[in-house]
Symmetry: C2
Subunit: 516 residues, 2 copies
């Protein structure tokens, strides 16, 4: 049997290639790998050896071939063999002894003897892995409200009232996919009063905005469909659509939201299915789309037959300036799909968001919701409804706006004061996030480690990137931190960024060629 | 341009066929349809005419071509044109006058002028539509616990305790995809004590069992994969996997659970990916898989490299006989994936279930969960944990078992007494459901209407069918009804079934050919 050399990339290999097949290297048993498989070669090799151990073909104490030897025999890179051995070692199946080689140590662990889960499961995609939640005493990493501001007494009262009513047991009974009827009714009435819901619209309650996006993906997106998203964008949105097999096209976001000329070019080039846009205090940039631009988005979308999904979870958190009409409000055809949530005002642990959409779509979303998880938790729906209709939500919102205004001022002043010269940052009028661009050659991802050791964390720009890489970019989520934490955190970050900048410039200076 | 006649089926048409294109029928504008589209032709036609009205190309009062005329010009069946006109009429865009034809009535309704949602949305699949929830004073239609049995005082107390603790605000804060850590810890410890969780296992909290199935589908199933399910089976499972593009193969369920010989044949024929099995009190049949059969399932699955998902949401509800070891307990390799839930004991409105699975799979499920909806509602997780660790769950379970035993006895006695001769029914020892087969020629779906008019409802067998159609079958969910309701409901059903049987037999007798 012919052996093939790895050709750098596996894309483009001719279809029926069997990758390497070795009858024996000394006493080593036969191995078969398949270059056409989606499973990486090192994992296939790991699996085969694991099976040999599991079946008893390789016994405790036997020596595995040297990596160089096995690589040569199978036509693999030596690093591929090393990676497989490392995995076997990490599972305690094999032990490496420097200079002597690797030896079979034990049976596979109980708990994984039968199935090879590593092979069975699709490989996790590094790009679409969820962003990590960095730790740190002062965390600018999460876009969520501060729990110190949760009105716990009002919440307890709302809970008590809901559970004290005569029909309370029916709330804890199985509910309806579209949501708890009294909450839906309330949300729809509120939306009508605001002018965002039209007679043809309906409301579907979801487990927060994340599930709203997931249900839209299930109903509207087929593998290969193009979806237009902001660039940079919230990773949970990007990763969701990537996993669903969509092609993402990023519309660059500047200080004034998405770039309309870029949007127009993207619409001319292809036939995208969806545009997802966050017109108010976009995550991660904090940018807001001006009113005329909102009308342009609608005009372009209508001409292109594009579904516009307006993610408006931050809209209620305006600390300065005047509110703008939402795209949904401006849309006379009524086709815009509006996403909202309680989670940015309070209690994000209670997963309750909602979609306002034309009825034909709302009905399909409810069908998808039924298959996804039957319905949203009813206790939380009922308690949040009580919290809202009792007027407690409005009171809480007023306090959140006051606190948010302080925090926004604090973060802007601290950025001015502590970020090194050459750094740029957005100036949102609300929401939870602002976007910082550090001067070259600073790399926000590389510096995160140092920041975390100093007790401060943030999310580097790379987690938000769709197609534009900005190594110097990072997101500061300020709304969950008290003003004094914001100041202390930015002082530390400023110090790290400035000293690194000085070091890098000195290095560049020192390594510059002599002037002759 | 050549016109094509519809050829009965659209499968197998040559790729680049443009379906019909008409420049004018009298003054009627140009129309283009595409035979290769996934959108049915009548919908395409409907959409085109709708666009013509929207754009003003067709004005109020104009006459549409006669169906025969347009069908001939486009090479369509006349029924296709009629269907498009009917849809336009139902939207109020067109009005038909007998003998005079169809006239443009109005602009499209505001709220759907821009996008054609009907065309944009994938056609709902009749087969995979969720089962309706029939109404009726006495409903045997839903497999859920009775809210009259919910221990509301204990629930209120659990809520109060959770919200009264010093760190309560952190429960209402954003949580972790895998679940509320104290609940996960508790569930894992309990599962270890029972011997169902091994050292290599972990727990992931889901929004009930339905979401557990959805996450497994996301992680393990690709379009075209074969999934083995029970036949008959819970519709929410069947529809979920069908929507995900899986091929379902039904393993027939008899009195003693799935048919092992059929399972073996299915494993020989193909390479299925998953087997989902409910060994205790299966929904809809109530059947329980005996202990030796559980071992056989494991042996067959291991030989075939099949992932076994054990849906055990009814296992705790055993009213008679001795509990059996779960498949997960018997699985020495530890690969079995176990699904559990609080929802069948109490409070199904609080969507909390969990998966016990080998860690590599559990990690992927948590990733999928994060993309689906970030995490499960934390208030419900914390309250149910409190409800469990306080001992209230055990007390409640004892009461549920006592009530369930009464209800089971009541339904079995009432079936004996009221079902017509020739009817058969299962005799579960627990759970919530039993399965009735009415004698021929009774059709449970046809009789449902009559039953509902008489104030009783149930679910006909067709909603549960995978590949075996049993017109006489129906599910009786008895656990949510008090014994007197069960007796009254079955008396009514028995009367309807018996009278219909007598009528059908008389008719058959009367229409029999004369003996000559």
């Amino acid at each position: 049997m012919k052996l093939y050399q790895i050709s750098g990339t596996r894309i483009g290999l001719p279809p029926p290639v069997q990758y390497g097949m070795v009858d024996s290297i000394g006493m080593f048993p036969k191995l078969e790998l398949n270059a056409e498989s989606e499973v990486p070669l090192y994992r296939q090799l790991y699996e085969r050896i694991r099976e040999l151990v599991g079946s008893g073909a390789l016994q405790r104490g036997e020596r595995l071939p040297a990596t160089r030897e096995l690589a040569g025999a199978l036509g693999l890179n030596r690093t591929t063999v090393s990676a497989a051995y490392a995995l076997l070692e990490s599972e305690g199946l094999v032990q490496g002894h420097v200079g002597r080689g690797s030896f079979v140590l034990a049976e596979p662990r109980p708990g994984s003897a039968g199935l090879g889960w590593e092979q069975l499961l699709p490989a996790p995609d590094a790009l679409s892995a969820p962003a990590p939640a960095p730790s740190g005493a002062i965390s600018f990493a999460t876009s969520r409200p501060s729990e110190d501001l949760f009105p716990m007494d009002d919440f307890r009262l709302s809970c008590q009232e809901v559970l004290g009513e005569p029909g309370a047991a029916s709330i804890l009974q199985l509910g309806s996919p579209g949501g708890y009827a009294p909450l839906r009714h309330y949300l729809l009435e509120e939306a009508r009063r605001e002018g965002v819901a039209r007679p043809g619209d309906d409301v579907i309650v979801t487990n927060g905005c994340q599930q709203a996006l997931d249900l839209l993906q299930r109903v509207l997106v087929r593998p290969g469909d193009t979806v237009l998203v902001e660039d940079p964008v919230y990773p949970g949105l990007k990763n969701l659509f990537l996993r669903a097999g969509a092609q993402l096209a990023g519309v660059p976001v500047g200080r004034d939201g998405i770039d309309l000329e870029a949007l127009e070019r993207l619409l001319e080039r292809g036939r995208p299915r969806l545009l997802i846009v966050t017109p108010n205090f976009q995550n991660p940039t904090g940018a807001t789309l001006p009113a005329p631009a909102r009308r342009t988005v609608l005009r372009l979308a209508r001409a292109a037959g594009l579904v516009v999904v307006e993610n408006d979870i931050y809209g209620e958190l305006r600390y300065e300036g005047s509110p703008l009409a939402s795209i949904k409000q401006l849309d006379e055809a009524g086709d815009t799909v509006l996403l909202r949530s309680f989670s940015k005002l309070a209690f994000p642990g209670l997963r309750v968001g909602w979609v306002i959409a034309p009825k034909p779509l709302a009905n399909r979303l409810a069908d998808a919701k039924q298959l996804a998880d039957l319905h949203t938790d009813q206790l939380s729906q009922a308690v949040l409804l009580r919290f809202a209709v009792s007027g407690r939500l409005l009171e809480h919102r007023a306090r959140m706006l006051a606190a948010g205004a302080q925090r926004l001022r604090a973060v802007l002043e601290a950025c001015e004061r502590w970020l090194p010269p050459g750094a740029a940052f957005t100036r949102p009028e609300g929401g939870m996030n602002l976007w910082v661009r550090l001067p070259e050659p600073l790399d926000a991802a590389e510096l995160l480690n140092r920041a975390q050791r100093a007790g401060v964390s943030y999310l580097p720009g790379k987690y938000f990137a769709v197609s534009r890489q900005e190594p110097g970019a990072l997101r500061l989520s300020f709304a969950g931190l008290a003003p004094e934490e914001i100041r202390a955190g930015l002082a530390i970050l400023g110090e790290i960024f400035s000293s690194e900048l000085a070091r890098a410039r000195l290095e560049r200076f020192e390594s510059a060629p002599a002037m002759v």
